[in-house]
Subunit: 241 residues, 2 copies
DNA sequence: ATTAATTTTTAGGTTTGTCTAAAAATTTGA
DNA sequence: TCAAATTTTTAGACAAACCTAAAAATTAAT
């Protein structure tokens, strides 16, 4: 509270007039906003609950409540006690900025440094909080303005606009149809390594040859060359187009 | 204290035996260690005082005292009350790791992203704390294992060994001798931009043509082509070989 | 060699982000 | 519908990293 006042006074004194009221979000606040964004998406636009947030932030519900009060005070979320939260325009903008940085860095780690797509998430979790507009834009350019990250996730542009991607789960595709692998719904190293082992990568063509009645497992033709076995669990987490 | 205990117990429980006692230095601790390293260098190996540290950490002496007690407890510094501090081997190793990352990222920002050498320090101050051994080593390789950063500062290797560099200030070079610009002693954007304006860059050859009796200012021949004026203040902050 | 000035440490507080335990609100379901 | 189960919030604490003010130690000057 007094820290805010000091910031405010500094603005007044340094600029004569208050020009902008920069949000100044901390590392922690950024993480909350990013997670709220992602869980809202996942919920199809519905409010995110305190408990959901506690799980994903690796904290307790009480801690989340504290943070929500604070984010609401900064007008970054819409918060009615006991009713869950959604992001305000401002909160969404910050969240998308963090997601943009996360995904751009992931592209860098894979395309430039040669990391595997299963090794990059934790590093990107750190890099996404580096605060420099110029850095983000120069990195974007250096990478050739990529639209999607190594997992096929869309990268928002500098204004927060997501490139559109029409895709569906492999498990929803009819038999005999040929599709292209464009993304994953799970990012765990175990899942990604499993795909590696089966040589399923972004861009692979997949044609469903057979679906087992018994366990809904698949036999698919990969890249028009080899037949591979895919469990239903995998098929439900592969995005294709 | 109880946090340390918990970490210790986790080690015991997860590993059966305590294998390593990882230091787990925070962002803030890393900054203290880095600054202690640099000020010790500057002091020719002598102890660094509390007040010196307060200046460079942008905090107050009281805060520094607190932190020194803490760092001493972790065996990262040699600290006798009222007598200043030096780094222990362990502290030095961490400091050199942070400096390594800082300088590698600076190379990246200039060589790959096209930043000017006057624009990179603040961004590198953030990037230097990204915690991933693999990232640092892959970045190093990607950059071609550079020995020096964009300011001519030596980059320690993964073991903390600095490449040796024999250089001296331009102000100590005798008249008529031709030398090569290899570094700067001041990193302020103002100074670096001043050098840019005079087209003095790393690798420029400099031959001292004249030194003014009155103000010790220089007229030097730059790259065997143009004569430029250099103040004594500048000459004292240019490293040449 | 004392006293005065300076430096450093300690004492006591604040803020941020976390925690546990307990209270309050909401949801479930008999 | 109303009691039980669940979720969420509040209350009260704690650790990290900072602060100001005051005490203690060191250094400098008469
Ligand atoms: Mn990721
Ligand atoms: Mn990703
Ligand atoms: Mn720097
Ligand atoms: Mn540098």
């Amino acid at each position: 509270m007094s820290k805010n006042l000091i910031n405010w006074l500094e603005n007044v004194l340094l600029q004569g007039i208050i020009i902008t009221l920069k949000a100044m979000t901390s590392f922690t606040e950024e993480n909350y906003l990013k997670i709220i964004y992602m869980l809202t998406e996942l919920n199809g636009g519905n409010e995110v609950s305190t408990n959901e947030l506690a799980e994903h932030t690796q904290t307790k519900a009480a801690s989340v409540s504290d943070m929500l009060r604070k984010l609401a005070e900064k007008n970054l979320i819409n918060y009615r006690k006991y009713q869950g939260v959604t992001l305000t325009k401002e909160g969404q903008y910050i969240a998308l900025g963090v997601i943009r940085k996360h995904r751009l860095w992931e592209v860098f780690l894979v395309e430039k440094l040669g990391f595997g797509w299963d090794e990059i998430h934790d590093i990107a979790e750190q890099l996404e909080h580096i605060d420099s507009k110029e850095l983000t834009e120069k990195l974007d350019k250096f990478l050739g303005n990529p639209q999607f990250d190594p997992h096929g996730d869309p990268i928002p542009d500098a204004k927060g606009k997501m490139p559109s991607m029409t895709s569906c789960k492999l498990s929803e595709v009819p038999i005999d149809q040929t599709v292209v692998m464009v993304g994953v719904l799970v990012h765990s190293p175990a899942f990604l390594q499993h795909l590696d082992k089966n040589q399923i990568t972004l861009g692979s063509t997949i044609k469903i040859q057979e679906i087992s009645e018994f366990d809904k497992s698949y036999i698919v033709l990969l890249n028009n060359s080899q037949s591979v076995f895919i469990s239903n669990e995998v098929a439900k987490n592969l995005l294709v187009k």
